[in-house]
């Protein structure tokens, strides 16, 4: 996918003051292991927040709580003004239809081709769409990630970078208002990581999505973040722009940027 750095590093829309995600005092334990000990995070509409932290610090748990994959012990998870923890299955699905989630492994459906992976998601979102409309939307989504030639391939035939792109296309095909990325560049080489980061930025500016990006990849964070938060021992220990945190007086915070 040919995208110039000049185009992609321009942050298209400044975030508005309207909060679409508001996490209050989030706690989560797995047995005796307390992971989240009171996370508070607000994300404004159109804002892109990168979450950093050591492995096991609860980054993925936080976003999985947001989409209802993991039930928190206590705390509020307001998305579009609705507390996720208070919703029944149908209400949760209505909310999920406005959100996208890119898994670390892309989580493509192994038994389906790329076409079926995208079409399956779209067909379940909008049952009124004709087969032709689904096909058109699938092709458009694949063109968006520069992989229209992979439409008939099976996931097992795709490289790591291609899987991530297809995963992104599958998520973006429903035009989510919020995107949650769980380590989108993990396991990829430097060049492919940069391509994925640029793609995320491009899709964000095009679709005006609000994003939370969990990553250990600092070039990705630098490129995509409006704001960075760092999780430490179950709480947010630092918050600011890339430039601010890079010059932090706290050595531990600076250590992420070396």
């Amino acid at each position: 996918m040919e995208t110039t750095a000049k185009e992609t590093t321009v942050k298209a829309t400044p975030p508005s003051s309207e909060m679409v995600i508001d996490i209050k005092d989030l706690h989560k334990s797995f047995g005796a292991n307390s992971i989240l000990k009171g996370v508070n995070l607000k994300v404004a509409k159109g804002e892109s927040v990168v979450v950093l932290g050591k492995s096991g610090s609860g980054k993925s748990v936080t976003i999985k709580c947001l989409v209802g994959l993991i039930a928190p012990d206590t705390g509020e998870l307001n998305v579009f003004g609705t507390d996720v923890t208070q919703l029944n299955n149908n209400q949760l699905n209505e909310l999920r239809a406005r959100m996208g989630f890119l898994f670390q492994t892309a989580a493509l459906y192994d038994s389906m081709s790329v076409r079926e992976n995208l079409g399956f998601t779209l067909r379940h979102h909008n049952k009124k769409l004709s087969a032709d409309e689904i096909e058109q939307a699938t092709i458009a989504a694949l063109q968006g990630v520069g992989l229209e030639e992979a439409i008939d391939k099976m996931p097992s035939e795709l490289s790591g970078g291609m899987r991530k792109r297809i995963g992104l296309a599958r998520t973006m095909i429903i035009k989510p208002e919020i995107m949650l990325y769980d380590e989108p560049t993990t396991g990829l080489d430097t060049i492919t990581s940069r391509e994925i980061s640029e793609l995320i930025l491009e899709l964000q500016s095009k679709n005006k999505t609000t994003s939370i990006i969990i990553t250990h990849d600092m070039p990705c964070a630098r490129l995509t973040a409006d704001r960075i938060v760092i999780l430490k021992e179950g709480v947010i220990a630092a918050e600011g722009t890339y430039e601010e945190l890079e010059k932090s007086e706290d050595e531990w915070v600076r250590s992420f940027f070396i």
Binding site: V67, L69, R96, T105, Y109, H125
Partner: protein
């Protein structure tokens, strides 16, 4: 036990209250039914053949060789074909479902469906259980027929009878009271094979090791449940008929 009860309860709630994934159900019927035909054909044929060959010397001692078609038919239809076919299905289908869903679970594909607002239980579990419940009885009836053909071949190794005469004698010995309980129990066999395969796969823990465990546990539990259901079915049949 609690998890299993909730799983069964959820199945009945989803199957009766939400729209049905018909296309996936048809695909599962094809995958579970049609693709099991070669295996069921071979085992069904061997069952009938061996049963006939083994029975012949004993019946011949009493000059009762003409009873072979009827005896083989009753043995096959009432007990041997349902149980053996169900055990074959437990090995092939329950393990397949357990491994497939377990693999989907550990690679976050089930989570991906869930966050896409697609109900994975309805799409993956309900369709598979419905398909096994429908297809296992069909496979058993097919195994009955293939088994009878095996019996015909077995009879003709030492004797001589036409296919028409063999099948006429076989069907004459059957009544609806033989067919109905045997078919009803295969519905339960199919339901439990699907339910156990799905339950084990759906509850696989993280890690690839758990996929193997889910498949293995699905086969063992489904096979055991077949014997237990068979025992209960025999008692009930004995009481009612």
């Amino acid at each position: 036990m609690g998890k299993a009860s909730l799983f069964v309860k959820r199945f009945f709630v989803e199957v009766f209250t939400t729209s049905f994934e018909f296309k996936e159900f048809v695909w599962q019927c094809y995958a579970i039914g049609y693709r099991s035909l070669p295996l069921v054909s071979i085992t069904g044929f061997i069952m009938g053949l061996v049963l006939t060959i083994q029975s012949r010397p004993t019946l011949a001692q009493f000059g009762a060789e003409s009873w072979i078609p009827g005896m083989v038919t009753l043995s096959l239809v009432r007990e041997i074909a349902p149980v053996i076919t169900a055990l074959i299905c437990a090995g092939k289908i329950a393990s397949g479902i357990g491994a497939e869903l377990g693999s989907m679970k550990v690679t976050e594909q089930i989570d991906a469906m869930e966050v896409s607002a697609i109900n994975p239980f309805k799409y993956l579990v309900v369709t598979r259980i419905m398909a096994t419940t429908l297809m296992v009885p069909v496979l058993v009836i097919y195994a009955d027929l293939v088994g009878l053909f095996g019996g015909f071949i077995g009879y003709n190794i030492h004797g001589e009878v036409s296919l028409f005469r063999f099948f006429s004698q076989a069907l004459e010995s059957l009544t609806f009271m033989d067919l109905i309980p045997a078919t009803i129990k295969t519905v339960f066999f199919g339901f439990f094979i699907g339910m156990i395969g799905c339950f084990k796969g759906f509850h696989a823990e993280n890690g690839t090791e758990s996929v193997g465990k889910a498949a293995n546990s699905a086969v063992v539990t489904a096979s055991l449940s077949i014997f237990i259901i068979d025992m209960i079915a025999v008692q009930i049949t004995d009481l009612i008929f």
